[in-house]
Structure formats: C-alpha cells, structure tokens
C-alpha cells in the first residue's frame, strides 16, 4: 500500500480488562463510551441467542402439520417474545451501542456529550430486558399477544395475565433509554466534531446515526404515550382501547404503527451506515455519490413518518386513505434505490477484497433488495389484501431485518472487532459463518413467500396438512437449524479470536475514517492528537498529501 499512517504512540493502558484494573466495577461504573458500547454489544449478543432459541422453538413446532411440541399458549408467548426481543433488545440496542462506540471516535471526540446519560441509557435497556423477561417467572407467563399487542386482545378481559403489563413496562424503559441516546447522539454529533469535520465531511455511518437519532427523539414518544395509555387501561381501568367501553381498537393501531413504521427504519438506517463504511474501504474507492447517500437518508427519515397505515390496509380505513398510504410507501423505494445503486457503483471499478465484512456487505445488498421489492409489492393495497398477516409478510420482514439489519451487523462486527479488541477475527471461521448464514437464511425464509401466498396465516401454532405445506415448513425449519449452526460458529469465532486471535494493527483494513487513526483498542482518552480533517477521508489525506480528497466541484 502506498499509504503510510503516522504512528500514534504505543497505547499504554488499553481497554480496561475484567481481570486487570478494578475488575467488574470498572465496567459497571463506567461512563466511557467505548466500555458502554461494548457492554451494549455483548448484551445484545446474549439477547440474540435468547431470541434465536425462541425462534428455534417456533420452527420446531411448525416442522410438521398438527405437531405437538408445545402448547398453543407457549407458542404464542414464543413469537411474542421472539419478535419483541429481536427488535427492541437485539437490533435496536446493537445499532445504538455501535453508534455509542464509534461516533466519538469517528468525529474525533473524547467521549459522548453526556457520558453519564449514556451510561443511564445502557442500564435502562438492561433494566427493560429484565422487566420483560421477568414475566416468565410470573404465574401465567409472558405476554402472548404478539409484538404489536393489538387492542383489545392485549387488554382486560382478554389478557388477564400480567405478561402485557411487564411487556409494556419493559419497553417503556427501553423507550426512555432510546430517547436519551438519541438526544445524546444529536448533541454529540452537532457540537463535538473535530476541527475541519464539517457536516459534508461527516462519515456516512455518523450521518445515518444522526438521522436515526432524530427519528428516535421524535417517534419514541409516540409509542411511549401509547404504552402509558395501555398501562392505564390495564392498571386503572381506563378505556382508551376497549371498544366495549367506548374506546377504540383502531386508535392503538394508529399509535403503534405511527411509531412502528419509523421504527423499522431506525432498525435499518444505521445498518445502511455500516454498509456505507465497509463497501468503500474494501473496494478501495470513495463512496459513490456521497451527498446522495447522505441526503437519501434524510428523505427516508422524513417519508417514513407518513406511511404507517400500510400496516393497516385490512382495517378498512377507506380507499382514499389506503391509496395515499400505498403511494407514500412506494415512494420510499426511490431514496432507498438511490442508496443501493450508489453502493453498487462504489464497487464498480474497484479492487475488491472479499474479506468477511465485505462478504456480508455484498450479500446484504441482494437480500435487502429482495426485502425492499416484497415491501413495495405489499405496499400495493390489493396485494396486501392477499398477503397481509400471512407468511409472505413474515418473509418480507425477515429479509429486511435479518438479510438487512443483521447482515450489516455481522459485517460491522467483523469490520470493527479488531479496533475494539486489538485482535483480528478468524477469516476461516468467518467464511464458514458467512456461507452457513446465507444458505440457512435463504432456506428458512425464501420459501415462506410461497407459504404466504398459498394461504398460511402467520402466528398459527399449527396448520392442516394441505398439499406441500408440511414439506415447505420442514425446509424452513431445516434452514433455521443451519442458521443455528452458523450462530454457533460465529459465537465460537468471537470467543476464539478474543483469546487467540492474531494481534490487530491500528488500521488492519487500510480504512480512512478517524477511528482507525488511534490504537487498537483505543486508549481511554481515544486520541492523543486528532489529525487535521481536510476531507471525507482524513487518513487518505494523511497518506496522500498531494492528492487531497475533495477535488472541489466534481464531488457529488
């Protein structure tokens, strides 16, 4: 490589370790964004395994028609807890945690603007998770009303158990945590950038965290108020969502999806950010059309606020409303398409190194486009009337959440692991993980598109032996088992690499953003000296003093 990065003095006291320093206490009491970030990541991996085991239980029950593995109540609890866990305790805190770890490093700051608020956010997530899972210990078990808890099913007298109460309380706690992290990120990004780091030079990951943070700050209160109302209904017998007493069942849906739809972009925008960092580095080219990739994020964020009722086409809101929401939803394809095509164009003409992060990023593009295309299909009202609440939708959102968010998360883990730990992850195990994931994932979920259009409703603990249903479900279940294998390989890779991984240099991928300037792992104070930022790729500029990055007008 022609690029040589000036050495930062050897890091004397890297990340505090459990055994050295003050032990556990240095973590529990930490307000350091890197430690908090890592705690986020570790806890979400634990939640991922829990949520994944719940998914396995679901898939085993569905392996055969009329199978008797678990009771209907347990099945309903499983998919409720699976969906809730994966969304609120895996993908969301993972991406927030990654942001907490990386944003200060990427903008050349010492820490977040409000380190203690940051710690509070993290512990609130844990508190929320404990509240949610505590419901397993109550007499009648956890909530069994699905992750969107439609009223009046989630209300008395239809759910007399305590599950939904714990569910709402747990999510309220994480909601407050998300607003706090959103606020913290916004202030950090707007006020703490290093000298020279203008908004137009902000790394794309930071851009997407910024937009996500705005979404958090403005849409979490929607669901927080809905949770408050639901709790009042359940605890004080208020009548918001109980039609029998004058309330409205549809109001809950408006409130839930008013939050719920922007939420899915909260789950995917930072993932887009990861992809926008990984693809250029491994293609050895700058991102194609920086302003369009950043600007389309803002467009997606704004559009996402006005499409919620595409989850409610079957509610009977009337044709005018349905058509409006249909068109608005389809429009999101445009800024999203801009992103996808810019990623492809970034790879075009590059010199691509398919290390594990890049493998996941490449696969991400394909899987996410499939998700997006089925998304646009269901945004068409008549198609939605065919497939809503069927396995087609289950396939759509797993392609988006797993093929999208989770693939990007894997790419991000492989990419930043050396920075966070000072060790490289094993490439061999990484490739095993990648291929098992791709095979298992597509096997599990592609077939569900067909099950859906053939008439299999979602959230059913059993099904009749209709032609091919049994074998199609079995294929899906086998896919899930392959996925479980892939998760085991992944967990093993992390464990092994932490102990025996090759020592990571400061900048193993020859990347260009500021986090790679400091040591691996970064010193407690992040940087001894933040290099001058004169373009979007500060480390490129350092290595090519004569070929600066921003050739003025040509920059898009």
């Amino acid at each position: 490589m022609s690029m040589k990065i000036p050495l930062v003095p050897e890091n004397l006291k890297p990340l505090p370790r459990l055994k050295e320093n003050e032990g556990m206490l240095s973590w529990v009491a930490s307000v350091d964004h890197k430690q908090i970030g890592i705690m986020y990541l570790i806890s979400t991996l634990v939640f991922f395994i829990i949520g994944g085991l719940e998914a396995l239980v679901i898939r085993i029950q569905l392996a055969q028609p009329e199978f008797d593995f678990i009771s209907p109540e347990v099945y309903n609890q499983m998919f409720t807890m699976h969906g809730t866990t994966m969304i609120f305790f895996v993908v969301m805190p993972f991406l927030i945690g990654l942001g907490v770890y990386l944003v200060p490093l990427m903008i050349g700051a010492r820490d977040m603007a409000f380190p203690r608020l940051n710690a509070l956010s993290f512990w609130l997530v844990i508190f929320g998770g404990i509240l949610l899972y505590y419901s397993f210990l109550t007499q009648s078990g956890p909530s069994e009303v699905g992750w969107f808890a439609y009223a009046p099913l989630s209300e008395k007298p239809f759910s007399l158990n305590k599950g939904p109460t714990y569910w709402a309380l747990g999510l309220l706690a994480t909601g407050i945590s998300s607003v706090a992290s959103g606020l913290n990120n916004i202030v950090t990004i707007l006020t703490m950038r290093a000298k020279g780091m203008t908004m137009r030079r902000l790394p794309l990951f930071v851009w997407m965290i910024l937009v996500t943070s705005f979404l958090l700050v403005f849409v979490i209160p929607i669901i927080a108020s809905a949770f408050a109302m639901m709790l009042l209904d359940r605890l004080l017998e208020a009548t918001f969502f109980t039609p029998a007493h004058g309330g409205s069942a549809i109001l809950w849906q408006h409130f839930f999806w008013g939050f719920g739809h922007p939420e899915v972009y909260i789950l995917v925008l930072p993932a887009f950010g990861i992809i926008s960092e990984v693809i250029p580095v491994f293609s050895r080219k700058p991102i194609f059309g920086y302003s369009f990739v950043a600007g389309s994020t803002v467009a997606i964020g704004l559009l996402s606020l006005g499409v919620w009722a595409h989850h409610m086409f079957a509610v009977g809101l009337g044709n005018v409303a349905n058509l409006y929401f249909s068109l608005a939803s389809m429009l999101i394809a445009i800024p999203t398409g801009v992103k996808v095509l810019n990623w492809v164009a970034t790879m075009w003409g590059g010199k691509i190194w398919f290390a594990t992060p890049m493998l996941f990023a490449t696969a991400f593009i394909i899987e996410f486009v499939i998700a997006g295309l089925t998304g646009v299909a269901v945004a068409s009202v008549p198609i939605d009337w065919v497939v809503t609440d069927s396995y087609f939708v289950v396939a759509h959102f797993h392609y988006a959440l797993f093929g999208g968010s989770l693939f990007a998360i894997f790419a991000g883990i492989y990419y930043w692991f050396p920075k966070m730990t000072g060790r490289m992850m094993s490439e061999t195990l990484g490739k095993w993980h990648f291929w098992l994931t791709v095979i298992g994932f597509n096997m599990t979920f592609f077939i569900q598109h067909f099950l859906g259009v053939m008439g299999m409703p979602r959230r059913t603990y059993t099904y009749h032996d209709f032609p091919y249903w049994g074998s199609m479900n079995l294929i899906s279940t086998i896919g899930a088992i392959i996925l479980a294998l892939s998760v085991i390989v992944f967990a093993w890779n992390i464990r092994r690499s932490l102990k025996h991984g090759e020592k990571a240099p400061d900048n193993p991928w020859n990347a260009w953003t500021l986090e790679w300037y400091t040591t691996s792992p970064p010193a407690v104070h992040n940087f001894d000296l933040v290099p001058p930022v004169r373009g979007r790729r500060p480390l490129w500029d350092l290595a090519h003093p004569d070929q600066l990055d921003e050739p003025n007008s040509k920059v898009v």
Partner: protein, 312 residues
Amino acid sequence: MEKLGGIFNPSSPEMEAMADLTYYVIAISIGILAIIVVAVAYIIIRYRKGSKDSSEPYQNFGDLRLEIVWTLIPVAIIAVLFQLTCSTMKTIDPPIGNEEPDIVVIGHQWWWEFYYPKSGVLTANEMHIPVGKKLLLRIESIDVIHDFWVPELGPKIDAIPGHTNHLWMGASEPGVYLGACAEFCGTQHANMRIRVIAETEEEFNEWQKQELVVPRTPRSGIAGKGAELFQTKACMNCHTIKGTPAAARIGPDLTHLNKRQTIGAGVLTNSPENLTKWLYNPQKYKQGSLMPNMKLSDSEVEAIVAYLEGLK
C-alpha cells in the same frame, strides 16, 4: 401433482384480478432484482483482487447524471405500479351504497358466526353461498380483532369490535373453499377456520330452506334424554337450538349441527365419534377454547350426541 392453493388457484373474479396484479408486480420485481444480481455478479468476477495487489483503483466520487437517471427510472416504475394498484382496486372494491349485506360475518374467539339477514338463517363456521354471484359481506366482531380470509376467493378484511367493514365476495366454481382467521386473536387463532361452500343457486336455496326449519325436539328415548340434559347441563347458557329455550349466542348455533362438516371451527370432522370426543373434553382438541370441559358422564355424552345427531 396436487393442486396448489391460495393465489395459485384464484376462484373468483376479484381474486383473479388480485392474482394478476401480484404476478405482474412479481415479474417487475424479478426484473429489478435480476439487474442488481447481474451487476453484483459481474463486479464480483471482474473487480475482485487478491490481498496482494496494493495499487489504488481510479477514485471516482460520483456522477450527477447517473444519480438523476437512477432516481427517475424508479419514479417511472412506481408510477406504473401505483396505476395498476388503483385500477385493480376499482375492480375488486366497488363502492357500497346503502345496500343491505347478503351475509353478516361475526368473529368470535375462536369461531365464526354467519347470519343471512335476507332469509334469517344463522349458522357457524361454514358459510354457504350461491355460485357466480357477487355477494356483499358485512364483517363484525364481538370481542377482539379477527380477520376474514378465504385465500381463493378474494381479499381479507379485519373484523373489528366497534367498527364494521364490508367485503365483496363470490365464487366462480362450486366447491369447498377453506379459509382462516388471519389476525392474531388469542390462544386458538390457529383453529379459527372458515369453510365456504359454494353451490348452485338451487342447492343454496334448498340449504337455506333446511336451515330455517325448526327441528322437532325429541321427547323420548335416548335423544329425548339428551334434549333434556342439554337444557339442564348449562349447554343452553351458551348455545342456541331453535325450538327450545336455548337461545344464547356465546357458542355456535347448534340447531342444524348435523348438517355441518366440522366441529370446533375445523378441528374435527363432524361425526358421531368426534362429537363424542368433543363433548368429553373440548379442551383436548382445542386447548383454550371458550367451551369448558363440561365433565359429562358416559351416558350423558351418549344421550347428548344422540340428540345433537338428530338435529338435521
């Protein structure tokens, strides 16, 4: 090869329109996906390098014209999709005037009630319709949200307490069409199934006539004992049997139980043996169902079965 259901077997004009739209959109999607896949495949083959090669490729920062092109093409595709959406909706969802519905569908946890306001027929879980006619359904719920879905016959629509919905439905061919509740509604959501029995006009009228007959209540023999037990064993608190004091609507109307093909919204086929099993313990076959285990003795079950079997 066995016949595939759902969208692969559209059996009403509405469903045909929707299936066509779906195929069309899927074709467009496959086209778009193919472009991306081919581009990525080409990139993988053409632009991959070993980790040895350390020269930098040409640093291309973007191209405004390309950005415009790939914004406008999706705009055009969306315009087409939206136009197709609108025109399909027109064919499947004509406005409802002040027409009286042909059938009122009422969702219950976890069974369906069908009421024919024009004739007064009340039945459960199995909906008879005359073939080739476009019927207006009014969809309601008395407890939580359900969703009426017969995949081969048309769109699904929610049954929401405190909010009525309408749906146009018909079948082009005679036959039995299976459907199910599609909105999660609690423990036995999976077993809240629907049977639509599409028959010729004559058969349908005959069925309606049959349904309106009030059966004679047996006074003697084992069936007579069953009829008596039905009134004394609290069955009447939940069920209706016309011509008897039993007139509650918590559970399905049993006036013509024998005419139905299944029991428990599709969990068991309707036969004397299965009815016996059901009455011993409905919770065994439909765990969580709102019909409790009535703890009947052998002879009581036998008597009630004999009585119910006589309700033709």
